[in-house]
Symmetry: C3
Subunit: 469 residues, 3 copies
């Protein structure tokens, strides 16, 4: 059985002189608190201080980063618990064995990096996952999950989380967030994020039902465009009262273009009747997104964009397992022309802030750095989803820094459903940024003091500024 | 005269610690056999066990990588033997002198790397090419080409080739492949590849003549769509019987979309009458490509895509010299949306495998790695054509590995007409992969054992799996 | 106060062995003269041998690289002197203080690299800019600007400039260039560049007024298409007589497509009446650009393209401050198909040369290197504008060299309005190229002698060849 350990220099640059600088920079930030301004951990876990049931339902089933690569290697998603609620102990153990037996498939991936850190640092596992070691690892994790030290709040404390943002539907009553706020035994900070995508796609299936719900929730007449606007404003206010500082948007593109009011009203009425083409739906959606930007300028909620992913690319998997099962595939994106109307209107508005994320790396040096290097409202989001990984992070810094510097970037976001991976994810970011800064020091572009100050900013100052925390 | 030698550490990482690991990884794979699942060497060379005539017709004239850069430096292609069959000894020697005199033009190119390896390792040349050394090198090569050790079969053995795929027209009778298969003196493996492009472009010049030939060859009535399908199925079966394991496709885009059968039939009939617009030709072509995918799922021939190259970009050169003279220029490509219908239908079909190649590096992290990291049928092809080069290979691994790992990549293909460059090309790939793996070891992302096992897989396991060899 | 100095090894590779080679390569080129074939320094500065007024109007106000990032950090452009002519001493000093107080915003940017080199090497400043040091630095620079050694011609000499190209309107009388040519006390070389963009956009505001001026200047009847052609030919001849060797073009795209003459004539007539749609304007513009290519083949002026930037992206800033204030944002570009008609016609024409610049890095390996590796008329331009920076330059060389080598690239252009930054900009390029070449030496792809010869070519041979200097 191969020994599993984490080398203290992992992910740092390989040249010894640069590594020495990187160690110094990393040491200055490695124990700083975690600021997580965008993610998908359920607030209820902390409100209820849940105990986690078993390794598979905690570490495998909900994490599409883990399951998708097993699927590519021929494993059925259902064998990993995806889309089912009948996994008994034997099935859970079998799924964990499957992961361990496929461990070489993860070589070179960031999932391996995260998972190893969880095994070693959270659970004290010291053997490499394999068919032979699967059961022992499974048992060790199970045993620990039953202890108070592994309940949600204890882990939140142990991880050093300062603030954790969830992602929530505009009609959510945020009861879990309220319970936490009112709980005298809770001293953490869990804030909601306003994610209105499904209310902004008038030609999509389910839009009318969503709008009905929105009207009931907000108490406005959503049969007219103005009622939609009022409802959104009301729900944004509700989220702000419950601690939200940002809204999140994920559409096919990032276009946001105001329509003539009469045109918008007419399209809206037809959409409410289900009488709207996909193209018209896009047109109206772009107006509604523009409205969200206008509201953001007014109420100060930071707008974050996570665009251009073909969701549920594989219909059969979608029908069998639902959304978010690893079958979302990125597409090309364009920001320069698409955001022009919004930036024309609000690019220098003191209330407006927008953070731009991408999986399409081509826009880093071509569009994002030039935009954020001019507009005070624009921040460049950290590498996201498929490119939240060490080499990709290096490419990100190399592509944007020479034009936009460090201060115009958002700082790291983990965007994860995998609660236990949060420390590992932030640690990877700190290591890679330390390595990047160390190279600039070794190339005599920064002093070590400047590098350390910058690393500190990237962990704390930048996300707090970009997300108005 | 400057000495030409090959440093044993060439192309390995520069940091001494990483280089030491890379040496160890490279040493473990450098002498493994060559698996070449996609290329353009004529089977007849091996069937006939040809003796090669002279250095120019072997090393320069047929290799558009070599000739195109000379053309860019003002050399007429005809002076290099392109498009003519009247090169006498003096002309051949003059062409070789031209190449040697322009040797500095190749600095930094991968052509220099390959050519130097051919000179030193195949022919034992030990001086740098130049106007002064051209004749001596020419004579040395000529002399050796006349010996039995330099006939095609002896080189095949010496190069350690385990399997070599050719590229063939669906109507080819594969006589050379048959002769090899029936030759008791031949113990190698040369397999055909089914390349049906010209039968799938209904609006292109020459399509009807090609279809007529297809009908005669397959013995089906190709005046109807169903006859085209039958003919293709028959020819695919013929190729499979002669050892083929894959089909190859190179169109402007990778879209593959089934038409309603009546629509397809009608377009097909009009195409047979020469009455089809370019747009309709694209529409029908995308249906025919979808048919090829359906056949691939049925008969198990692996589908490989080499898309998005503007062929014969320079009309005057095309008219003077024909195709494949170095005037093909890549264009942007899109996979996510374009392949959705095929992957919806066959992405998890056990019979279906598709290998995606690109010259557009933007799709690596954005589309190819996410696709191959979910769909069991999708493999990421090795860097191809213009980007089959050391730095580009590094970028490839860095772009895809963090999402898709190593096992979802195809392993190296040489795709070459230049028989003598095959060992050098595979060697470059082994060196670069060793260097990439060594960096992961030095960054404590892999152990040395894992790196060596992975390097071995990339040379043997991956191409055999991806191409079903 | 932190000490400011320039490390002699700055920007060289970090691995000591590679750095040693890089030092040797860099030493061989660092003192070579500066060839600047494309930029925006006014010829009048040298004709008048101006004394520069103050640090802000010299180093900050006209340099949108500097001002745009301050704007992104919330500084009003007017506070930096942009768009106003009423900056008194106090306002100038205040602007300089603002820059120094925001110095950390430039960490990691190439602006910091250039600015530090100007401070240390031009002005002998030895403290890091900050709120505390701003006044002392300001005073030191002001003091020196009053001395003869800091007049324009003395700096031209001191910088070692061999040739400096300006950018000029076709209707410019080039009086400053004439004065220089006729001045016996002047021994430098300042040449104009023909930049006809505004005469080639028939649907743009101001086109008709520009064409009226063109007609008056050239003395031709520009109410007809043929008169436009004659006028352009005449002005090109005028520029050539005054030393011009190139024309510069910056449109939304690089398409250049000849129209049927009657169609062109009809569109032209309608454009002269102001009766042309934006799409028709694009169509006619593409014909006019094709005409420029035809003229280039005839008269030998090198055509340079700097395409695909959304100019004046932020309307309010444009209206308040005018053009060139840092609010231009790049967009995606396409060369392969767009340039096909021009290269079909002139790609092997001995009179025609075209240099292709881009901010969209995706085209390097996909389009530019393949084009320049085949067409003798095509040169790959150096990284430009936002990507004229060390890491981006490394990416450039790594992306194009393996296909096109070094000789098909243009050599460095500074493209700057910031006269005092010219030596720093060229020095960055020499350092980065030395580092890139040193890596190839360390990877045993080049000998040190080859690397030094190549570095020398990149500084002198390449720009002189690409721009026909």
């Amino acid at each position: 059985m191969a020994q599993l350990d984490l080398h203290p220099d992992r992910l740092l640059p390989t040249e010894p002189g640069v590594r020495a600088v990187a160690r110094e920079v990393y040491a200055a930030v490695k124990d700083l608190p975690i600021v997580s301004p965008h993610g998908h951990v359920p607030a209820g876990w902390l409100a209820d201080d849940v105990a986690f049931a078993d390794p598979t339902s905690l570490l495998i089933t909900p994490d599409h980063y883990v399951t998708r690569l097993l699927h590519a290697h021929g494993v059925a998603l259902s064998d990993l618990g995806v889309g089912r609620d009948d996994m008994d102990a034997a099935a859970s153990r079998a799924a964990f064995r499957t992961l361990c037996a496929h461990w070489p498939a993860y070589r070179g991936t960031v999932v391996k990096t995260w998972f190893e850190a969880e095994l070693v640092e959270v659970f004290g596992v010291d053997v490499v996952p394999s068919a032979q070691t699967a059961d022992a690892i499974y048992d060790r994790i199970t045993e620990q999950l039953a202890t108070p030290q592994f309940r949600a709040r204890a882990l939140y404390e142990r991880f050093g989380i300062e603030v954790l943002a969830t992602t929530d539907d505009p009609c959510d009553d945020l009861a879990d967030h309220r319970r936490l706020a009112e709980d005298p035994a809770w001293s953490g900070r869990v804030i909601p994020t306003f994610r209105p995508d499904r209310y902004l796609e008038p030609a999509a299936e389910g839009w009318n039902a969503a709008i009905d719900l929105l009207g009931r929730t907000a108490g406005t007449d959503v049969d007219h465009y103005s009622g939609w606007v009022e409802a959104m404003e009301a729900r944004r206010a509700y989220f702000r009262e419950h601690g939200a500082t940002s809204t999140d948007h994920s559409h096919r593109d990032v276009r946001a273009e105001p329509l003539d009011r009469a045109v918008a009203e007419e399209l809206y009425l037809r959409a409410r009747k289900g009488d709207i083409t996909p193209d018209e739906g896009d047109t109206l959606r772009r107006d509604l997104v523009f409205q969200m930007a206008r509201m953001a300028a007014d109420d100060g909620l930071v707008m974050t964009l996570h665009p251009a992913v073909a969701r549920n690319h594989h219909g059969p998997s979608h029908r069998a397992y639902g959304a978010d099962v690893g079958a979302d595939i990125p597409t090309q994106v364009e920001f320069t022309r698409s955001l022009q109307p919004v930036l024309e209107a609000f690019g220098t508005h003191p209330g407006f802030q927008i953070v731009l994320f991408t999986i399409d790396e081509t826009v880093y040096s071509r569009e994002l750095a030039p935009l954020a290097g001019f507009y005070p409202s624009v921040y460049i989001g950290a590498p996201w989803w498929f490119i939240d990984a060490p080499d990709a992070m290096q490419r990100f810094r190399a592509a944007v820094t020479e034009t936009a510097g460090f201060a115009r970037t958002s700082g790291f976001i983990d965007d994860t459903r995998a609660f236990l991976s949060i420390p590992a994810r932030h640690d990877v970011s700190r290591r890679v940024d330390a390595g990047f800064l160390a190279r600039l020091v070794a190339e005599h572009r920064l002093t070590t003091d400047e590098a350390i100050a910058t690393a500190h900013d990237l962990v704390l100052t930048n996300p707090k500024r970009a997300f108005r925390l």
